[in-house]
Amino acid sequence: MRDITYTAALREALFEEMEIDESVFLIGEDIADFGGVFGVTKNLLQKFGRKRVCQTPISEGAIIGAAVGAAMTGLRPVAELMYVDFILFAMDQTVNQAAKLRYMSGGTVKVPVVIRAQQGCGTCEAAQHSQQLEAWFMHTPGLKVVIPSNPYDAKGLLKTAIRDDNPVIFLEHRMLYSARQQVPDDTWTIPFGRAEIKKSGKDITVVATSLCVHKALEVAKDNHFDIEVIDPRTLVPLDIDTIAESVVKTGRLLVVHESIAQCGVGAEIIRLITEQYFKAFKTAPKVLGGAYVPMPFAKVLEENAVPQKRDIIETINNMMKE
């Protein structure tokens, strides 16, 4: 075993897949000489050269479009968006094109592209640098959506994403880049669609994503209730069975994520479980999501715009009371 960061884990995944498969290449802003603003692609230029580490102008539409076109014609591009907010300049390419090309072509076209994007909050970068858009992508048929919460998952899932023959949106949280974890010495992949029970418990099921997995785990650690914490890891495909099984056991469901609650991932999970496992509930399921507000700048406001440990504790206490 060895200790690596989330950033290093991602870099290892890129490195290994680029070594194995010549058709894998990187495309994005500031990714070559500098190694990416968050350092994920550091040294990959030195190893693989400019042909495979393509540093672009600031043209998000062309970055994603070029990646999609390359994917349609035999390559396996991994595009990097510095902040997911900037995908708003590339939504046609992502949603009208990447997501739909295979279906519209009756299965004759294949689009094995990975779009890595950094998202999250916690660094006071305000409304145009703090969106978390996984719910939109879940709402878009044809996109797989991956949202790893730790180094092990990040590496294993990114390798799987690169090997997947479909467009994958791969969402990294910027407060996780420095997260460390013990991982095996040799390499691994993680299949899509397998949630992980990060801590088992019998009183309440907490489904959390990305950074919130850690908040939920901390709450679970020294709580007087026996909390089960599940990380779906991939939202499309979503391992609803693991969540359902847990809810059947605990009778209580709380979903926690930083992205906006309205029409969000939590709402979707509640819909799925409620429709099929309604009788399992001992109490009303609940979502703790981002506040309905463009992300404010000031720390004191930013902190209060996303669920914190105290909110999770309070909500669990209330739910256990009912």
Binding site: T56, G65, M72, D92, Q97, G106
Partner: protein, 321 residues
């Protein structure tokens, strides 16, 4: 310069495109009369010289990204009329198995990378295909068709900038038919020749008569050479005109005399005359080809009509690879 057989081929393809468009309109009208709406139909009658000339130069493995007005480009790239017709009717045997319709016909095996319902939607994708060709050290080129209207979309700028920076083998082929839906070109573009924009990207630009086969052929040939030889993209603007309104549901609104003038420049009789003057095309031969084409179209219609619709249980097929 152009081999004789190639010239005849070009004419043949022009006929085929024209007949396909006529037939597709008739089919749509017939269905409409029965209360069945078959979606948007954008025909390209009048613009055949561009598609056919270009088709005659491209290799099978070159890429073509077309638009919602893509029947001509598809036929010129080698698409089979019967699978196209079947797709128009939403049949299981169509190019996209009934998922795509008129605007979305794909056949990667002949380099047909599909139509696009989004104006300018193919511009950046074509750049990606060219990047892929360069990456694989193949000498394929990637052709992106778009309209005068599409030249106003931001993706145009990003696509040509990236292609020029990376010297990618893309040919940006603008068919300027003077109108974008009901909007005249002067509402969309403040300069005379769209190709002038090429300079702003250190890219080669040419504006030409898109109804003249030889001009299109020559210009396109040098653009393809440029691409294959690693000398980067080209922006070619072909001035042309569509003979019919924007799509089936939009009535004609263009000035009568403008249309009249362009009908007189119909690329098909124009090219027939050229070939007759060169003594390459006899009346008899012309008749023979036309008859062959009519037969192909009739067979395509029959194939399409006889083909089964997709079944509802296949709704979710082809989302994932």
């Amino acid at each position: 310069m152009i081999p004789i057989e190639k010239k005849i081929d070009i004419l043949r393809i022009m006929y085929l495109i024209r007949e396909f468009e006529i037939a597709s309109r008739n089919i749509f009208k017939a269905h409409l009369a029965k209360g069945e709406f078959l979606g948007a139909l954008h025909n390209c009658d009048g613009q055949e010289a561009v598609a056919a000339s270009i088709g005659a130069i491209l290799r099978k493995d070159d890429y073509v990204f077309t638009t919602f007005r893509g029947h001509g480009h598809s036929i010129a790239k080698g698409a089979e009329p019967k699978k196209m017709m079947a797709e128009l009717l939403g049949k299981k045997t169509g190019y996209s198995k009934g998922r795509g319709g008129s605007m979305h016909m794909f056949d990667p095996s002949i380099g047909l990378m599909g139509g696009n319902g989004v104006v300018g939607g193919g511009l950046t994708l074509a750049v990606g295909a060219a990047l892929s060709a360069q990456y694989r050290c193949s000498d394929q080129v990637s052709v992106c068709f778009f309209g005068d209207g599409a030249a106003a979309i931001g993706a145009f700028h990003e696509a040509i900038n990236l292609a020029s920076l990376w010297k990618l083998p893309v040919i940006f082929l603008c068919e300027n038919n003077l109108w974008a839906a009901t909007t005249p070109i002067k509402f969309g573009c403040p300069i005379e020749n769209i190709s002038e924009r090429a300079k702003g990207y250190n890219c080669v630009g040419k504006s030409i008569d898109g109804n003249d086969v030889y001009t299109v052929y020559e210009t396109f040939l040098s653009a393809v050479d440029r691409g294959r030889n690693g000398n980067g993209p080209s922006l070619i603007e072909c001035k042309t005109y569509r003979h019919h309104p924007h799509c089936m549901v939009i009535p004609e609104h263009r000035p009568k005399d403008e249309k009249q003038m362009w009908l007189q420049r119909d690329p098909i009789p124009k090219f027939e005359k050229v070939l007759q003057n060169e003594n390459i095309l006899s009346n008899h031969q012309q008749e023979k080809i036309r008859n062959e084409i009519k037969k192909i179209i009739a067979e395509a219609i029959k194939f399409a009509e006889d083909s089964p619709l997709p079944t509802v249980d296949t709704l979710y097929d082809y989302i994932w690879a």
